[in-house]
């Protein structure tokens, strides 16, 4: 057990357990230690064990769960597919995890008004698949879209490669049904636009599960583009690639996506995916332009022109959907491919103004040299969202510590150039300690009081986003990943 786990709760109250089983049936409650061990992780490196995991099927179930948790003063944490990268779905202080995996029904598809009503456990990509025959899709496309749930997306305000042109989750959610930790069911927003009053939907999206449990979501559906052109630009210098991005932006072209991979990552990916990336280059840009056929064609020409002016060695245009899918497969598998090269890796999620891309990449390279750590760069260049991947061996304690230091130095640089500490992964239990670098005590206080409106006891997803009010500047010891100690 990681030594720094702060939770005090031991076994869950047997009466609570009985009541939960009465509410949800026997197969709706997990409480044996062997089952709980499988809910101590998500997609991040964080770990903490819940006391109980429950599987509601209806909003009424969720109301009942919240009421019970509230009555027993036990923490309550929502969970979708557990693909999050900041520990959002981890019961940091124990308590009940509410898994929405079984609430996975698409309730209504309203093609005429371009809306869908879904339960929180619906998998992101499944919604797009379900409306594809109508010529529609659900636009936000996090890299985990084939597994992550829309409820989780709402909590994290998830982004993705194509959010450059289409916007992130908050731009596509119009209404929510939520259950407050008190057990009260509330509707926020409306299916039609511009509900009078404060924009509670906008406030709720991205609250990382600290405001309420989502039981239904109404989203906008977007028309699929008529044409998509995917370009692959190959560079011998990282600077040329980053300058290309800056000029594409400055020229007023908004690609649907604009991703960059550096040479090291390209080689890792190519070795695994065989996407056709050249092995002897320093960077590639993967760019989608879409829209009307005429628009996509013209923009593709413009983009190609910019790439060449910035000394792209080669610009390839995918000839068909298969070629495009292959190139994108290379991008989407980049993290996994990098993960194959070392026992562990840590992905940072900084954001910078796009004009600072060249400087930031130079800084990352310095940091890499300073610590002697391999850092790969894969990122949403189009919106300045960096994902440096730091490789390390978790069994090497010094390297592990250096990794955290290097990650922090990268984030500090992001802040220094006017950026932010997380673009899409969320603050969660990973970066709460970094919040004071961006926000004053007054800012954080206001956020705390806003949270208290929804979650006055603080028992809904405790230990997330906001640093402990007293604990600013405390030394943070990251829990060791489960794989930290190899079997003897």
């Amino acid at each position: 057990m990681p030594a720094n786990e702060t939770r005090q709760s031991t076994a869950i109250d047997s009466r609570l357990l009985r009541d939960l089983k009465k509410l949800l049936g026997k197969d709706g409650v997990l409480h044996k230690p062997e089952d709980l061990l499988l809910y101590e992780y998500d997609g991040s490196v964080e770990v903490a064990r819940p006391d109980c995991v429950v599987f509601p099927r209806t909003a009424e179930d969720v109301v009942g769960i919240a009421q019970l948790a509230n009555r027993h003063k036990i923490p309550l944490v929502g969970r979708g597919a557990g693909t999050g990268l900041s520990g959002g779905a981890i019961a940091r202080h124990g308590g009940i995890i509410t898994s929405f995996a079984r609430m996975n029904r698409i309730v209504e598809i309203d093609a005429d008004n371009q809306r869908a009503r879904v339960q929180p456990g619906v998998v992101n990509a499944d919604l797009s698949t379900a409306v594809e025959h109508l010529g529609l899709h659900y636009a936000p496309d996090p890299s985990s879209q084939k597994a992550c749930t829309i409820g989780g997306n709402v909590s994290e305000n998830s982004g993705g490669p194509h959010t450059l042109a289409y916007g992130v989750t908050t731009n596509h959610v119009v209404a929510l049904e939520i259950v407050l930790p008190s057990g009260e069911l509330v509707h926020l927003g409306s299916t039609a636009l511009d509900a009078p009053g404060y924009d509670l939907t906008g406030l709720f999206v991205g609250s990382e599960g600290t405001f309420g449990l989502v039981t239904e979501i109404t989203v906008k559906l977007t028309r699929l583009p008529e044409a998509i052109k995917t370009l692959l630009a190959i560079y011998d210098s990282i600077d040329d690639a980053t300058e290309t991005v800056a000029e594409i932006t400055a020229r007023g072209i908004t690609p649907a996506a604009c991703e960059m991979l550096d040479g090291w990552t390209i080689r890792a990916v190519e070795d695994y995916v065989h996407a056709g990336f050249p092995l002897n280059c320093s960077a590639i840009l993967l760019i989608d332009v879409d829209g009307l056929r005429e628009v996509a064609e013209a923009e593709a020409k413009d983009v190609e022109d910019v790439c060449r002016r910035h000394r792209a060695r080669e610009v390839r245009v995918a000839r068909d959907a298969r070629e495009r899918d292959l190139l994108w497969k290379g991008r989407k598998n980049a993290f996994g491919a990098a993960g194959r090269l070392a026992p562990s890796y840590y992905t940072q999620d900084g954001v910078i103004p796009r004009t600072k891309l060249p400087a930031t990449l130079r800084r990352i390279s310095e940091i890499s040299k300073k610590y002697g750590l391999q850092i790969g760069n894969v990122f949403h260049a189009g919106d300045g969202n960096l994902h440096p991947i730091i490789l390390f061996d978790e069994r090497n304690e010094k390297q592990f510590r250096d990794t955290i230091r290097a990650a922090d130095e990268i984030i500090e640089f992001c802040i220094q150039v006017g950026g932010s500490i997380t673009g899409e992964h969320g603050v969660g239990m990973e970066k709460d300690r970094l919040m004071p670098l961006l926000f004053s005590e007054a800012d954080l206080n206001l956020m705390r009081r806003v949270r208290d409106v929804f979650n006055p006891t603080g028992l809904l997803n405790p230990g997330k986003i906001l640093p402990d009010s007293k604990g600013c500047g405390e030394i943070y010891v990251r829990p060791q990943p489960a794989s930290a100690a190899p079997p003897a």
């Binding site: 061990l37 499988l38 890796y345």
Partner: protein, 433 residues
């Protein structure tokens, strides 16, 4: 920190840290796992199962009933491998976990006896398979089956659904073809060995014959090597690795791979094991190199024909079909296009894709017998997807899938015909109507 706990694994055949630590618990496999999609619990997901292996290895979880249940419930369909961005070899891990269970966990007596009978006393011996099949054949043809069904005896025993999933025994076994050579029709384009399978010889002899005919018609000389035995897939999947190794050695000896352009199988499950024969033996094992050479010659019949190109003239078959990806072809061998290409090659055949075509139908080797309830639920979902396509026939690439889907068509009363890809080709080539 407490002292390191003792691992729950022992011996050589166990999930290794180097393999399972490649899992970055990103969760991308979850929605692709049939059992996660049924029950939505981490314990029944690939990520959760890998975590359980990890925990057992760390000594934090007992190699006990819970672990065994979740590992047993895995279909070993390997859809998770397709979804995995990190290249985790899940199939290998789960087979090794099962080997540990086999060695270190005491199952209830009945289960032990049944497993022992099937894996150690039946599958390795072609003659016993034939004998067992004769008994079943008598049951099925003598009216006993009808009696058992109508009398309600099966329902009483809880066997009614399970019985439907049983293969029907052919009247003419394929064993008689062993050792024969079939000439190419027209100019010889390739010389291949045909791997006939074990259970398939008594239940799919027609399919085997059709496979040979299609190969012949496309210019292949086909040899059916004598002395070949079960490929070992079923014991390997079940964790009975010693038997699997023995079978593999026997096959290495039976099929001189250098004499052939390819060794052909029409069973995706066998093909995937045959292609991974080298995994069964450690790098230092004397059989490792021969196994690797042997494996490099293995081709699924669809893969081989798509690569070779069809030369036999095909007549028009007006048929709307949908294709069910056999797991061990799509996920195990990464072959998706070849069978589709062959289906589309038949004039008049319209291929309509079903949603989630690459999700397991629930057959999964002996899964339909050992985990009948889950198997039937998966089958129900599959038949729902099939219905959406309004296809008249389901085409697939593995005998196990064919049995399962036929049972599905019967249980759900959909009336679908179920064909192997080569049976479809055979029908288009065949002169007799």
């Amino acid at each position: 920190m407490a002292a390191p706990l003792a691992s729950g694994f022992a011996g050589a055949d166990k999930p290794e840290y180097a393999d399972y630590s490649r899992c970055i618990h990103c969760g991308l496999c979850l929605n692709h796992c049939p059992t996660y999609r049924l029950w939505h619990q981490e314990a029944d997901s690939p990520r959760g199962r890998i975590r359980q292996m990890h925990l057992v290895d760390e000594g934090r979880l007992e190699l006990g009933a819970g672990f065994v249940t979740h590992i047993d419930r895995c279909l070993d369909c390997r859809a998770c491998e397709t979804a995995c961005p990190s290249g985790v070899e899940y199939g290998k891990l789960v087979e090794l976990a099962r080997t540990q269970i086999e060695q270190r966990y005491k199952r209830p007596l009945a289960s032990r006896a049944a497993r022992d009978f099937v894996y150690r006393r039946l599958l390795p011996y072609p003659k016993r398979i034939a004998a067992a099949a004769r008994i079943l054949w008598v049951y099925q043809r003598s009216g006993l089956a009808a009696l058992a069904r109508s009398s309600g005896a099966l329902r009483l025993l809880g066997l009614q659904q399970r019985e439907r999933l049983m293969p029907e025994i052919d009247s003419k076994f394929f064993f008689s073809e062993m050792g024969k050579t079939y000439p190419a029709r027209g100019a010889r384009r390739a010389r291949v060995a045909f791997f006939a399978g074990c259970v398939a010889q008594v239940t799919f002899s027609d399919l085997n014959r059709a496979t040979i005919r299609v190969l012949q018609a496309n210019g292949c000389e086909v040899v059916v090597p004598a002395n070949q035995v079960c490929c070992g897939a079923l014991p390997a999947h079940a964790g009975v690795r010693d038997v699997a190794r023995d079978l593999a050695r026997a096959n290495l000896a039976a099929v001189p791979e250098k004499d052939f352009d390819a060794i052909i199988t029409n069973a995706a499950g066998c093909g995937s094991t045959l292609k991974e024969y080298a995994h069964l033996f450690g790098g230092n094992d004397a059989s490792h190199q021969p196994a690797a050479r042997f494996a490099s010659k293995i081709r699924d019949v669809s893969e081989f024909l798509a690569e070779l190109g069809l030369t036999a003239p095909l007549r028009t078959l007006p048929l709307r079909v949908t294709y069910q990806d056999s797991c061990h072809l799509a996920h195990g061998q990464k072959i998706r296009e070849a069978p589709r290409k062959l289906i589309r090659a038949v004039p008049g055949v319209e291929l309509v894709e079903m949603p989630w075509a690459d999700q397991c139908c629930g057959s999964a080797g002996v899964y339909n017998v050992t985990e009948t309830k889950a198997s039937l639920e998966l089958l129900g979902l599959k038949m729902g997807s099939v219905r959406e396509t309004k296809a008249q026939a389901i085409v697939t690439a593995n005998p196990g899938c064919i049995l399962q889907l036929r049972a599905g068509a019967e249980i759900h009363g959909t009336g679908h015909e179920v064909l192997h890809v080569v049976e479809l080709l055979d029908r288009a080539i065949s002169r007799r109507d």
